[in-house]
């Protein structure tokens, strides 16, 4: 019954997606505006705590140097793993279909990859265990229903994803208490996570004025307001301060 439900849901999703694609021809996206930027970190980045993986040789073997908990990834003053997303400003009646491809999250070396990621409401989530040891994946949604599942060995689990907007939805593993990941659940596709160079790009925005928020797990949030015209590309940088 539940399987049938899942099949039906996927089927319905595909139909909706097909309709949506048909209604918004690919050309429409090229009119979209883009907001790009860089996220900087001022001050001395706190040291990431070392992780004692001694009890998990399969994970420890994947590291040449002692593994650390990559809570703050800053290189040359640029901050990675910042979730940047359009908080307000999109037309109230706009509907954005979720992509049919799921977001993939991998547990490798007893850490989550990616650690910070965006996912659309209704988008599937594919959870992979590449370690071959037990991980449990506990999603502590406050607005979304929490879930708590386990993967005893190398495997991939498909989850239906989330139903409402939530920033951020933390993931944790209780077998390895250091493992954390954060999902930004958004009703639209205008979000990005900064890379190692601290850069992000929100593409395909309709013209308008937006409040854009940047979130970091240690340094909190920053917001900015950006107005874009059709086809325009604007820069909006964020700066976090390490205390």
């Amino acid at each position: 019954m539940r399987r049938f439900g899942a099949v039906a849901a996927v089927g319905a999703g595909l139909v909706v997606l097909a309709l949506a694609v048909a209604r918004h021809p690919a050309g429409a996206a090229s009119d979209g505006a883009t907001v790009t930027g860089k996220v900087k970190l001022v001050g001395k980045a706190p040291a990431n705590p070392a992780i004692d993986m001694g009890e998990e040789p399969k994970c420890k073997g994947k590291y040449t140097t002692g593994p650390v908990d990559p809570a703050v990834l800053a290189k040359n003053g640029m901050l990675a793993n910042v979730f940047v997303y359009v908080k307000t400003g999109l037309p109230a009646d706009a509907k954005y279909p979720a992509p049919s491809t799921p977001v993939e999250i991998d547990q490798n070396g007893c850490l989550y990859h990616p650690r910070v990621f965006g996912i659309m409401v209704g988008q599937g989530l594919s959870i992979k265990n590449s370690d071959g040891v037990l991980h449990n994946i506990k999603a502590l949604g406050k607005k979304n229903r929490p879930f708590n599942i386990s993967q005893p060995t190398n495997m991939v689990t498909q989850r239906p994803g989330f139903t409402v907007t939530e920033v951020m939805l933390p993931f944790e593993c209780n077998v390895h208490g250091w493992m954390h990941a954060f999902a930004g659940v958004q009703p639209h596709p205008f979000f990005a996570t900064t890379g190692e160079d601290g850069s992000f790009a929100l593409k395909g925005l309709p013209p308008g004025t937006y409040t854009i928020e940047a979130w970091h797990e240690k340094f909190g949030v920053q917001t900015a307001t950006v107005t874009v015209k059709a086809g325009e590309t604007k820069a909006s940088d964020f700066t976090f301060t390490a205390k």
Binding site: M1, N136, N148, I149, Q151, M155, Q158
Partner: protein, 588 residues
């Protein structure tokens, strides 16, 4: 509905003019209710066994895809490989189904209902409609419990003992609805149990046939009567605890939440205050039934009838003051542990009386090895092992080592399977003719008994060794531990034995169904027994007796010197018998 209407027309043709629904569905006849309970509990016995097979697959062949496991949804067993969260659901539901819905219903649902009025000479229970309500609330409870396995996150997963806070907090267990449904089901079950118990107690006290004095009652009735008192007083405590647990899950109360001042051990105290009498609810009726079967099979009066009765009462009384022996290492005050140890060890005394008296009954008997007798003797042999292994856990220092290991798993299965279930199989075969008017097949019954005996011991005896080696309970994959790795061959052996044991039960179920329709027609008294029920036709009619029977003696007068037959029915009036004093009949 047309078939029902048609059936009711045919029913009108007989003198019994109840409609089909009144006769077989919403029946108030204790025998039909007993049979309804029998079907219900045998169904749950199968379900529980089926869950056990999945547990054994994972332990015997950890991480291997289970045959047919790919039929299970991804959230339970992707690709047929059982997931840890499904494994703990299996463990939880196996225990819950077996304890509450299989063994307990088989004893106090089926045989209390079926036997009490028949054996004491009453025309029905004291409250037939309450009796019906008891069945249907048990049915609802079972339905809810079964349904809980099909909700999105699966069934409850905190073990059948449902220790808070794991059971109370969805973020820690990973299941919300399944856990809540467990609580709901147990509350309904508690209602059913109380309704049943008050019926049994009232009936035994007030509705005995003339001459059926207290000490002429069969031991099965004594055991069921004492069990009903235990159930009446213990199960409401469980219901109260389950209500608190449900409120914890749904309303966010803080009974078991230490962060808000609640007490974690409160659940354990409440649960085991119920749970230990519950253990005796599960074994006392089996002891009573086994006494009947052994006396009949030995063709001898039961050895020490009065001490058997007092032993039942003694076990029941001690059952109230031993609950702490489940909590020796729980953080309870160790001085309490000492007193609970003493009371627990004392239970060995009435248990020993019973075992030796059964042997005394067989001594110099003329043993007839019909299938019920085989099961009766099997019960004594296996219950002895279960009772003796209990002494290890009663001794607190030893318990500290073997608590929560497979030793306790072995112990509980020797008592509940080797004990209760053997007696139940015997009882089913023994009273089958009175239920369905036909005999179960004797040959296949013996095959079933011997195969069960063999595979049962192969399955559960090695578990003692697992426990002694330190194998903890409820481990999804023991090979995580280096010191448990050498035990894998033993685990695999146990699993194969368990599959064979489960397979042997198919013989029983086929025999049961086949005999119900095609079995040999049963005579009035196929086992040549003295009980009142054997004076009735097979199957026993609605209302039991046209005129109530009069009882002249106890139920175990076998091989009385000077009699031509080796049995002497309770209703047979000898010239020396006096008519009993009784409360006269009151006009309609």
């Amino acid at each position: 509905m047309t078939t029902v209407a048609a059936a009711s027309h045919t029913a009108h043709a007989h003198h019994d003019d109840r409609s089909f629904i009144k006769k077989y569905i919403f029946s108030t006849d204790h025998k039909i209710i007993g049979i309804q309970f029998l079907f219900l509990s045998l169904f749950f016995l199968l379900v529980g066994g089926f869950l056990a097979m999945q547990i054994r697959w994972q332990l015997g062949f950890p991480g291997k895809p289970m045959p047919g496991g790919s039929l299970l949804p991804e959230t339970m067993a992707p690709g047929g490989v059982i997931l840890p969260e499904y494994y703990i659901q299996l463990v939880t539901m196996h225990g819950t189904f077996m304890v509450f819905f299989a063994i307990m219903l088989l004893l106090v649902g089926v045989y209390a209902n079926f036997l009490i009025p028949l054996k004491i000479g009453a025309h029905d229970m004291a409250f037939p409609r309450i009796n019906m309500a008891s069945f249907w609330s048990a049915f609802a409870a079972g339905g809810v419990m079964l349904a809980s396995m099909y909700v999105p996150e699966g069934a409850a997963r905190a073990g059948w003992t449902m220790y808070a806070p794991l059971s109370a907090r969805e973020d820690l267990s990973g299941a919300a609805l399944g856990q809540q449904l467990w609580s709901v089901s147990i509350i309904l079950f508690g209602l059913s149990s109380v309704l049943g118990s008050l019926n049994y107690i009232t009936t035994v006290i007030n509705n005995r046939a003339p001459g059926m004095t207290w000490f002429r009652m069969p031991l099965s009735i004594w055991a069921l009567f004492i069990t009903a008192i235990l159930g009446l007083l213990a199960v409401p405590v469980l219901a109260g605890a389950a209500i608190m647990l449900l409120f914890e899950q749904v309303l966010g109360t803080h009974f078991f939440d230490p962060a808000a001042g609640g007490q974690v051990l409160l659940w354990q105290h409440l649960f085991w205050f119920f749970g230990h009498p519950e253990v005796y609810i599960l074994i006392l009726p089996a002891m009573g039934i086994a006494s009947d079967l052994i006396a009949n099979g030995s063709r001898k009066p039961i050895f020490g009838y009065h001490s058997m009765v007092f032993a039942i009462c003694g076990i029941a009384f001690l059952g109230w003051i031993v609950w702490g022996h489940h909590m020796f290492v729980s953080g309870m005050n160790p001085t309490l542990g000492s007193s609970f140890m003493v009371s627990t060890l004392l239970i060995a005394v009435p248990s020993a009386i019973k075992v030796f008296n059964w042997m005394g009954t067989m001594w110099r008997g003329n043993l007839r090895f019909h299938v019920p007798m085989l099961h009766g003797v099997g019960f004594v042999a296996m219950f002895t092992i279960g009772g003796l292994s209990g002494i290890f856990m009663a001794a607190t220092p030893v318990d500290m080592f073997i608590h929560d290991t497979y030793f306790i798993v072995a112990h509980i299965h020797y008592v509940l399977f080797g004990g209760s279930l053997f007696a139940i199989f015997g009882a089913i075969v023994y009273w089958f003719p009175k239920m369905f008017g036909r005999m179960m097949n004797e040959g296949w019954g013996k095959v079933h008994f011997w195969l069960t005996m063999l595979f049962y011991n192969m399955t559960f005896f090695p578990m003692h060794n697992l426990g002694m080696a330190g194998h903890m309970r409820r481990l999804y994959d023991p090979n995580i531990y280096d010191f448990l790795k050498p035990l894998q061959p033993l685990n695999t052996f146990i699993s194969i034995s368990a599959f064979l044991l489960f397979g042997s039960q198919i013989i029983f179920f086929v025999n049961f169904w086949w005999s119900m329709f095609k079995g040999k027609k049963a005579p009035l008294n196929p086992w040549e027994d003295n009980g009142l029920e054997w004076t009735l036709p097979s199957p026993a009619p609605h209302g039991n007796w046209e005129t109530p029977p009069t009882v002249y003696r106890g139920p175990y007068e076998f091989s009385v010197p000077g009699m031509s037959e080796d049995y002497l029915p309770q209703t047979k009036k000898l010239p020396t018998d006096r008519e009993p004093a009784m409360t006269p009949a009151h006009g309609h």
